[in-house]
Structure formats: structure tokens, C-alpha cells
């Protein structure tokens, strides 16, 4: 408001100096002199009854001070889960996946704790292992969850599920029009079936937590993206008022959704409750892989078109493997159901999805959140349809794409983006339509996700006695740059130098409530809360100046860090604060509250769109795919810090390339075959596309500050489909399963009898 050029500028990250010197303190760097170390005993069986746990040998090891198992939790509520509290802290009577925590060994040193964990003897009786969806859905399959559990937060309306007598964790559908009649009318019907892999997000700082449980309550320092959600789970577990549970999330070493919701905090907390000492539990990367993953999906889509290429109807059937516990899997399914069909005008639609419990690691949030799975099906289907119709795939998309304001889902916010224009930018940058070389091909795609999550956000802005500013927010810094962007917003709103603004984040004991740090919401929702808190603080400064200096409130305004009464005086904020309190002390707190009213009444708060394209080359001898060109469009409304937007877009699309080309958790029954970073391969520096164009588009069409929309997931979501289409065009056969490893591409190239259109 004061013309200060702090927004719209690629200013350096607020935390970058600390991160290049090694001074940045992550959760894992927090220790206490008297703390114990916890080491986790993990199940060696995928599905079994626990017959006995023999702790004696472990307790005999010098330095081991205790072994906690599920049966030792006494009066505690022994489970957690924000949607359904089905996840035991430590297995109770039964294990549901290989790698599940069975006991926690507490040691004076980490070495002692690990020696103890190796010495605990667990005796199991095996149950039938339901290692995949098909086995779990057999008529006579045993139930992974024969009992029911308390439901969690009612605000997750889409994820509420009824107890059932099978292994289906959740069922979701969406439907409008009359698809049967529409398919009757269709000139061309195209069916596509795809498989999307199980993924591990690999945030490089593995889950860790340091917990103190004592008469004061609980104090946890942890790697949680959503400290307030963790607080709620711990309060229920220990029967404590929310005010007695303090959860702090310092700088996080990556998140990408995988640190959403409660993960390791209960383990450290029951260790402290049991021992009366602070307990640190720090997992290895392998253990982190056994903590959460992303859902795999099998999706079949059938689309009907008229002969000109207009979409008449689409039908999707989705099956997701959600693993052993609910975690956030039911919400991921619900999101896949309304993200799969894309931002196209679809007069008749039916989507039905099921998330299925299996004896594998529980799946949860991961960047994109159901969209990458659904988008692969929807967009590859558009490419196959274009081929069948004899229409260029860009033209087919533009013929059907919704215009700005168009309705993606009835009753939801209209599309706040111009995707036809974004598609033109991607394809022209990609040089789409030019003749391609032998064994090269291009692909592109578009997606739209109902992002932002539920709009509940609060912020406080404290103008201190020297005129510097503290911004208090429960939003977590995990690399995305919120510490920088929120400071830019506050500096701009208050008209103060950015160097005077300090952001304090994610401490349930001192920062105000923030529902989550996820769904790309922080810039929009927390940004709005900070803006409102700044306005509130300025209003208070004006009133205080009017009272103190005897000026009419109507004559007063604020500008450039001062309160001004034209013709009378001009007082820096610091002087207003000092004069009002009548001492060299005091401060002014502005409060900003965001809820689903006004501009945010219509959900989602914004559509997070993504438009990307790639050109790939395939080695005809090995099937190895290399990426020659990557184009991303970040359609963010307004880029408060353009470099950070580009950083998010390239990071997200690189993770999308990982899923498209390399990454997959491979199960053999209930046994995970590759729980490590050698066999689970993520993109490396030499995998970088030879040419990269990250384009930021600003049309001011978001509800966030200055017209901003969120970023961070959009350019991941359409990557799988774009890469699959590019490889398909390079080799003349459509892939249907990711990742497109060299082996898989070679087999597809050398398979007999399948043409590009999927027919014999």
C-alpha cells in the first residue's frame, strides 16, 4: 500500500545465510543433555498376530533403560490419526505391515538403543498377507481392520467414511449429466488404463522428534509440517488440554506433504512418558520409507467425443493402494476423484474411486495429492483421443479447455486461470508441431487442482518499540520460502524496511493457529492473514497517535513506516508506541483472521493449475529416456518473489520427472524390495533436462495478496502424462505404466503387435 518495492521482487531468501553456513537449526539439531535416545523395533512380518515380546536381553544391555511396547501404554489413548484414529503408536496385538513399529528401546546413547532394539525378540503368528489391491479385495480376504475407531476432524467432509465389512478404506464418487446417453451419441470412444507407482517423497531430513512429557504437559520439537494437527493428536493421546501441548517445527529439511499430520511425535512422547526423561527419536531414511508413502493407482478412463472432437462424456474408475492405515489416504482419494478429469468442459461425468487397505506402508499426502495419479489417466487419454480423432492434441485440448471463470466442478469456485493461453505458451516454447528427430518425441499436459485446503488461518503482527516488526505465524518453513514471502508482504503492507521484519513460525505455544502447511496454501491464506494483521496494527497505531498527539482520527493515515497527520505532524511507528505507553517500552499487536467468508466463501480458495511440456530422446538400444527440454508455466496470479516461484516450479517438475522415469517402491507381497536410496532412485544432477524454461505468468487472477495464487504442486501434476506422451511419440507405442525405466521402455519398444493407438 505504501509503494515500497518489496513485493514482486526476487529478493534473497531470508534464511539463506544460515543455510550456507551450517547455522540453520533443524529439528534433528535439537538435543538436551539429559535426553534418552529411542530406537524402534520394527515388524519383520507384513501381517501377523504378536504372540509375545521378550525384552529381557535388551534390558540387560548396558545403557538400555527401558523398552516400551503397545501393551505398556496403560491409560493413554494409544492411537493417532486426524481423519480416523486407527494408527497405533506401537502395534497392539497385531502388525499390519512390514516395518511397523512394535517397540521402542530407550538408551543412554544411540548405540545402546540400537543394540537394544536388535536384542528384542518378537514372536509372531502369521496371517494371510494382503500385499496388493487384488488380494485385499478378494471375497474371503481377512480384514486388516476388523474393528472401528474414533473419527477425527469433521472439517474433512470429503474424507468421512463409514465402517465397512471389507478392506475398502474409502469410496468416493462424483457424477453429473447422463453418461450412458452421452456415450450412445459419441462418434469416438477412447479407453485408457494406467498405473501410477507407489512413491516415497524423500524429504532429506528424515522424521525426528525430541519430546518432553512431564507435569507441565508436553513439549515436542519435530519435523511436522502441521504442528497444530500434531498437537491435537497428542492432546487426545495424553488426555491433556490443547494449551498443555506445545509442538514446535523449526526449519524443516524438506516436506513435500510427507511431513503432514502426525508421524513420529507419539513415539518420542510415549518414550518420555514411560521413562520420565526427554526422548529423541531420529529415524534413518530407510525407517522413514517405512513411515509413509504416496498411493499407487490403477485408473481406467473412457471418454466419448463427437466427430469434431468435443468431449461428450468421461467415466473414470480409480483404485488406490492406501496401505495399512488411513492417515490421509481417504482425502487423497477424494482429491484424485475430483482432479482426474481436468479443466475441460465435460457435460457428462462419472468418477468412482476406492482406496484399499493393504499390508504395506500407510500412504498419505505427497505433493500433488491425488492429482498426478488422476492426471496421468486423464491427459494420456486426451492424447490417445487426439490420435484417434486425427486432431492435433493441442487443438483437441484447446477445443475443450474451460475458459477463465468456467465451471470445473458445479458449486465450486470458477476457474481462475487462462489455461488456453498457458497451453500456447508451453507448446510454442516447446516448438510443438515442428518435425521431430528419430526416437525423440514431445508431450505436454495441463491440470487443475482444488487447492488451498480449508481456509482457516490466523496471524499476528507485532510492531515493536524500535519500529521493527515480528510476524507470528503457525505456517512452517520447509524450503518453499514462506519465511521470505511473508516478510515481503509484511514489509510492503507496513511500509517498513524488509531488514526490520522478522518471521516467527510454527510453535503452538507462541504462534497463532494455522490449520496446515500444505495444499500450496501459505502464500494465499497466510499471506491474507498477515495482510489483515498489518492493517489491524496500522489501525491501532493511527488510533494511538490520534489519542496521544490530540489529532482527529479522520485526519490520520500511515505511510512509509510513519503515522502522518497532514499539517500537524509525522511520527515514526516507534515514536507512536513509546508516546502512547509513556515509557521506552510497549508494542502494538495486529491480528489477522481468515475464514471461509467474503472472497473465500466459495471453495476452493484457488485452483492450482499446472501446464508443462517435455521433449525426450529414447536410446534405441537400451530404452533409456533422457529429457532434452522441459517447459513449465507457473500461472500464479502475481509472483511475490518470482525466483521462489521458479524454484518451486522446477523442484516440483523434477519430482514429477522422478515419478515418470525412475521412482517406484516395489513390493513383493508384503515385502518392500527397495527401502533405500540406492534402489529407490530419485533424480540426480546428471538427469537434468538439457534445456529448461521456467516461465512465470501473472494475470492477477487469484484471491491472495496482490492477486496471488499458490504454487508448488501445479508443475508436478501433469508431468507423468506429458512424459508418457512424449515417450509414446518417440517410440510409436503408448506407455501405460510409470515409471518409464529403461527396462520398461525397452520391453514396450520390443513388444510384438501393439500400435500407437493401443490396438493390435
Amino acid at each position: 500500500m505504501n509503494g515500497s518495492p518489496t513485493v514482486g521482487q526476487s529478493l534473497p531468501r531470508a534464511d539463506s545465510r544460515a543455510k550456507v553456513t551450517g547455522e540453520a537449526r533443524y529439528a534433528v539439531d535439537h538435543v538436551l543433555a539429559d535426553m534418552l535416545h529411542g530406537a524402534v523395533v520394527r515388524s519383520t512380518r507384513a501381517h501377523a498376530i504378536i504372540e509375545s515380546i521378550d525384552k529381557a536381553a535388551a534390558l540387560a544391555i548396558p545403557g538400555v533403560v527401558g523398552v516400551v511396547a503397545g501393551a505398556d501404554l496403560g491409560s493413554l489413548f494409544p492411537r493417532f490419526g486426524h481423519l480416523i484414529a486407527d494408527h497405533p503408536v506401537l502395534a497392539i496385538d497385531k502388525v499390519n505391515y512390514m516395518g511397523e513399529p512394535v517397540a521402542l528401546v530407550l538408551g543412554e546413547t544411540l548405540h545402546a538403543a540400537h543394540d537394544g532394539a536388535d536384542a528384542v525378540i518378537v514372536d509372531y503368528s502369521d496371517l494371510p498377507v494382503l500385499g496388493d489391491i487384488a488380494t485385499a479385495l478378494e471375497d474371503d480376504a481377512v480384514l486388516i481392520h476388523p474393528e472401528t475407531y474414533p473419527a477425527g476432524d469433521a472439517a474433512f467432509e470429503e474424507a468421512i467414511t463409514e465402517p465397512r465389512n471389507d478392506n475398502v478404506a474409502h469410496e468416493a464418487s462424483i457424477e453429473w449429466g447422463d453418461i450412458a446417453a452421452a456415450f450412445e451419441e459419441a462418434d469416438v470412444v477412447v479407453t485408457t488404463s494406467v498405473k501410477y507407482p507407489k512413491l516415497y517423497a524423500y524429504a532429506m531430513e528424515p522424521y525426528n522428534a525430541l519430546s518432553i512429557v512431564n507435569d507441565e504437559g508436553i513439549d515436542v520439537v519435530t519435523t511436522a509440517q502441521h504442528p497444530f494437527m500434531v498437537r491435537d493428536d497428542l492432546a487426545r493421546m495424553f488426555s491433556l488440554p490443547l494449551a498443555k501441548v506445545r509442538v514446535r517445527s523449526p526449519v524443516l529439511g524438506g516436506g513435500y506433504g510427507s511431513k503432514s499430520y502426525t508421524k513420529i511425535e507419539p513415539l518420542a512422547s510415549v518414550g518420555s512418558w514411560y521413562s520420565g526423561r526427554p526422548v529423541k527419536v531420529a529415524l534413518s531414511a530407510e525407517e522413514a520409507i517405512y513411515t509413509t508413502r504416496a498411493d499407487s493407482a490403477h485408473i481406467t478412463v473412457r471418454s466419448g467425443f463427437d466427430s469434431a472432437g468435443k468431449l461428450l462424456a468421461r467415466e473414470f474408475e480409480i483404485l488406490m493402494d492406501t496401505g495399512a492405515y488411513t492417515d490421509n489416504g481417504t482425502l487423497v482419494l477424494a482429491k484424485c476423484v475430483n482432479r482426474c478429469f481436468g479443466p475441460y468442459e465435460t457435460p457428462n461425468l462419472k468418477v468412482h474411486g476406492r482406496a484399499v487397505f493393504t499390508n504395506t506402508v500407510a500412504s498419505s499426502s505427497y505433493r500433488g495429492f491425488g492429482a498426478p495419479q488422476g492426471n496421468l489417466a486423464g491427459e494420456l487419454n486426451m492424447d490417445q483421443a487426439a490420435e484417434r480423432l486425427g486432431i492435433d492434441p493441442l487443438e483437441l485440448r484447446k477445443l475443450n479447455i474451460l475458459p477463465p471463470g468456467g465451471t470445473i466442478v458445479p458449486g465450486k469456485r470458477g476457474l481462475d486461470a487462462d489455461l488456453g493461453a498457458d497451453l500456447d505458451i508451453v507448446t510454442s516454447t516447446l516448438d510443438w508441431g515442428s518435425e521431430s528427430q528419430h526416437m525423440t518425441g514431445s508431450g505436454f499436459g495441463v491440470s487443475a487442482s482444488d487447492a488451498g485446503a480449508y481456509p482457516v488461518s490466523t496471524a499476528q503482527v507485532r510492531v515493536l518499540v524500535d519500529g521493527s516488526v515480528l510476524v507470528m505465524t503457525g505456517a512452517t518453513e520447509m524450503g518453499q520460502g514462506s519465511k521470505t514471502v511473508l516478510a515481503q508482504i509484511a514489509a510492503h503492507e507496513l511500509g517498513v524496511d524488509l531488514a526490520k521484519v522478522q518471521i516467527v513460525q510454527s510453535d503452538t505455544g507462541s504462534t497463532p493457529y494455522e490449520r496446515t502447511t500444505g495444499a500450496s496454501r501459505t502464500t494465499v491464506l497466510v499471506g491474507l492473514a498477515v495482510q489483515r494483521a498489518c492493517q489491524d496494527a496500522l489501525g491501532k497505531l493511527e488510533s494511538m497517535a490520534a489519542e496521544t498527539f490530540g489529532v482527529s482520527p479522520t485526519e490520520i493515515k500511515t505511510a512509509e513506516g510513519t503515522v502522518v497527520a497532514p499539517g500537524t505532524g509525522e511520527w515514526p511507528y516507534a515514536e507512536v508506541v513509546r508516546s502512547w505507553f509513556g515509557a521506552r517500552s510497549g508494542e502494538v499487536t495486529g491480528v489477522g483472521l481468515v475464514r471461509a467468508t467474503g472472497e473465500l466463501e466459495m471453495l476452493p480458495p484457488f485452483w492450482e493449475v499446472g501446464t508443462v511440456g517435455v521433449t525426450v530422446s529414447v536410446d534405441c538400444d537400451t530404452g533409456r529416456v533422457s529429457v532434452d527440454h522441459l517447459v513449465t508455466v507457473g500461472d500464479v496470479g502475481f509472483a511475490i518473489n518470482p525466483t521462489l516461484v521458479e524454484g518451486q516450479d522446477l523442484g516440483a517438475s523434477t519430482q514429477g520427472l522422478g515419478a515418470a522415469l525412475y521412482e517406484e517402491l516395489i513390493y513383493d507381497g508384503g515385502q518392500l524390495e527397495n527401502p533405500n536410496l540406492v534402489e529407490y532412485r530419485v533424480p540426480h544432477a546428471t538427469d537434468m533436462p538439457a534445456r529448461i524454461d521456467t516461465i512465470v505468468v501473472e494475470r492477477g487472477d487469484g484471491v491472495g495478496p496482490y492477486g496471488a495464487k499458490g504454487a508448488g504442486e501445479g508443475t508436478l501434476n501433469p508431468m507423468g502424462g506429458a512424459v508418457a506422451a512424449a515417450v509414446g511419440r518417440a517410440i510409436g507405442r503408448w506407455p501405460t505404466e510409470l515409471p518409464l525405466t529403461a527396462e520398461r521402455v525397452w520391453l514396450l519398444m520390443n513388444e510384438e503387435g501393439r500400435g500407437l493407438n493401443g490396438e493390435d
Partner: protein
């Protein structure tokens, strides 16, 4: 079981002599982080494939997650805390800030250490040589481009100021 055996070592870490006993099975990362409080060195994969824990031992990159502290006896160690001189950032550190090469920053110390070793051996690497040299370091946030650009920028400045 008996208490762990300990081994006496003397090593120079970031220019300071350190003497003491370390458990025989303590890793370099445990020694640096837990005994010396140098928490800038992180660990992640713990099997020498992610590069996060890289430190320089006698000028050569070593994975601190898997090397034994006992073997540091008589060596010189440089960690991320040792890259700035008297509070003045190295060219690489400065370039990482300017190119926004750190997002979550957890991998950053390892990249800085490896890039320091690269530029000591090859002051004018090509983009391809940089990517090849840093291929054993994983970054999950950035997509690598800003890191490679930062190394190029630092190399240019180091050659100009040499």
C-alpha cells in the same frame, strides 16, 4: 556386553586442534555433531549415496555417515562451518545465496563441500563437469539448476579474483 571401547584421536577441525576419545564405532558425523557440536554436517541416506554428510578430510571428500571417527587421527577436517573465513562467506556460499540454490537447505552443506573440492581441483569446470562431479549429491528441492549455476558463478569469481 561390555561398554564400548574408545580410541584416542587428535585431529584439526576447521583449523582447531581437537583431542579426545571416540567410541570405536562412532562415525565421523556422530563425532562432529555430537562431540564437537558442529551440526552443520547432516546425515540422510546413511549409505554414502546422497552426499548430504560430505566433509573434507585432508582436502578429499568423505561421507561422514560411514567413515569412522577413529580414522580421523592425524587428519585435517573441513566442514561447512569452516568454509567462511572470519565471517566472510566463500565465493561458493555467496553464489548459493544469490542463485537461490538452497531451498530446504538440508543438502546444502554437502553440495558446498563437494563444490569446494571440485573448484580446488578444476577452477574452470564446464556445466557438464559440474553435474558429473555433483552427481553423488541429492537435492530434492531445487531440480539442481540453481546449484549448478551457483558453482559456475563462484568459479568465475574465483578465477577473476585469483
Amino acid at each position: 556386553m561390555t561398554a564400548e571401547s574408545a580410541i584416542e584421536i587428535t585431529t584439526f577441525v576447521n583449523g582447531t586442534e581437537q583431542s579426545g576419545y571416540v567410541p570405536a564405532r562412532a562415525t565421523v558425523a556422530e563425532y562432529l555433531r555430537d562431540d564437537l557440536g558442529l551440526t552443520g554436517t547432516k546425515t540422510s541416506c546413511e549409505m554414502e549415496v546422497c552426499g548430504v554428510c560430505s566433509v573434507l578430510v585432508d582436502g578429499r571428500p568423505v561421507s561422514a555417515c560411514a567413515a569412522l571417527a577413529a580414522d580421523l587421527d592425524g587428519t585435517t577436517v573441513t566442514t561447512v562451518e569452516g568454509l567462511a573465513e572470519e565471517g566472510r562467506l566463500s565465493h561458493l556460499q555467496q553464489a548459493f545465496i544469490e542463485k537461490s540454490a538452497a531451498q530446504c537447505g538440508f543438502c546444502t552443506p554437502g553440495f558446498l563441500i563437494m563444490a569446494t573440492a571440485l573448484l580446488a581441483a578444476n577452477p574452470d569446470p564446464t556445466r557438464h563437469e559440474i553435474a558429473e562431479y555433483l552427481d553423488g549429491n541429492i537435492c530434492r528441492c531445487t531440480g539442481y539448476r540453481p546449484i549448478i549455476e551457483a558453482v559456475e558463478l563462484a568459479a568465475t569469481r574465483m578465477r577473476e579474483s585469483a
